[in-house]
Symmetry: C2
Subunit: 169 residues, 2 copies
């Protein structure tokens, strides 16, 4: 099945990681492909090294992509991530594949919606495909079996709040 976690609130990537952990406990092999992320100091990157059957591959620079002004390297890496996703889906080695922030990669114009729709349509039933990121396009919501929108009700974006190690990364 196809799952989508979207919306403006905290919890999309973590929901996918938690879904991965649950699946791993039941014997799944899980791959998370991260778009637009290249920072190796994320807690989940460090933790995954010690969790059997959980691989995370990053296809992005450690710096943020500027909306409207992606660098050629941002685009190259996102396309490489999509090609890698197509390859691993075809190989059918993983029972769950998470495409983290793929919705944002589409929204920012790094990869094409039509190509992601093709990938989703061609994904065999034996693979649980999980897509995350704000701005999930209607076409992907229509293709998905399960969609959760994570809405921000409250966030400590008050004066002096900086992202916190272990919580935000």
């Amino acid at each position: 099945m196809i799952q989508v976690y979207t919306g403006n609130g905290k919890g999309k990537t973590t929901a996918a990681i938690g879904q991965a952990i649950r699946a791993i406990g039941q014997g799944f092999r899980v791959l998370m492909i991260q778009f637009m992320k290249g920072d190796k100091s994320y807690g989940e990157i460090i933790a995954a090294k010690n969790i059997p059957n959980f691989e995370i591959r990053q296809f992005g620079l450690p710096t943020f992509v500027k909306k409207g002004e992606p660098s050629p390297e941002d685009i190259r890496l996102a396309k490489e991530g999509l090609a890698f996703a197509q390859k691993v889906i075809a190989e059918n080695k993983y029972q769950m594949i998470i495409l983290d922030e793929i919705n944002v990669a589409i929204d920012y114009g790094l990869i094409k919606l039509t190509e992601v729709c093709e990938l989703v349509k061609n994904c065999p039933d034996s693979i649980e495909l999980v897509l995350t990121g704000r701005y999930a396009p209607k076409e992907l919501i229509d293709l998905a079996d399960l969609v959760s929108e994570i809405k921000e009700i409250k966030h400590p974006y008050t004066k002096g709040y900086v992202s916190r190690q272990g919580i935000d990364y």
Copy 2:
């Protein structure tokens, strides 16, 4: 800080588990206390055994609690879970404590809202406290620093759908 994941969509418990994994990667010790759950065959219970610094303790029966008709054992276990949470918060051994489904335990009348509010107010800043479950009461939302509402946009509750191993448990 205090985080709350509520709403009717899939992703609340998994967001908390993903948050735990991220925190563990950054050196946190994490405890998840599960209310109203007693089934040891959940994927996260099995997986956590192999993840250092991640403990999950269940305070519930393996069967569902009937709303309006909780058994004395349901109530006893939930109260025990709350007392255990109070104890571990006071001990300050964990940097993150997740109270999974505690909102539902309050809504079902197993534990008192006033007692949970006291626990939240008394939690030291050194502990990240994460509360999950539908029906988060306004009082807890007011006390929280971060609240995400996970809304169901689409769920495959169609004919013949049964909960799936590795996905729903």
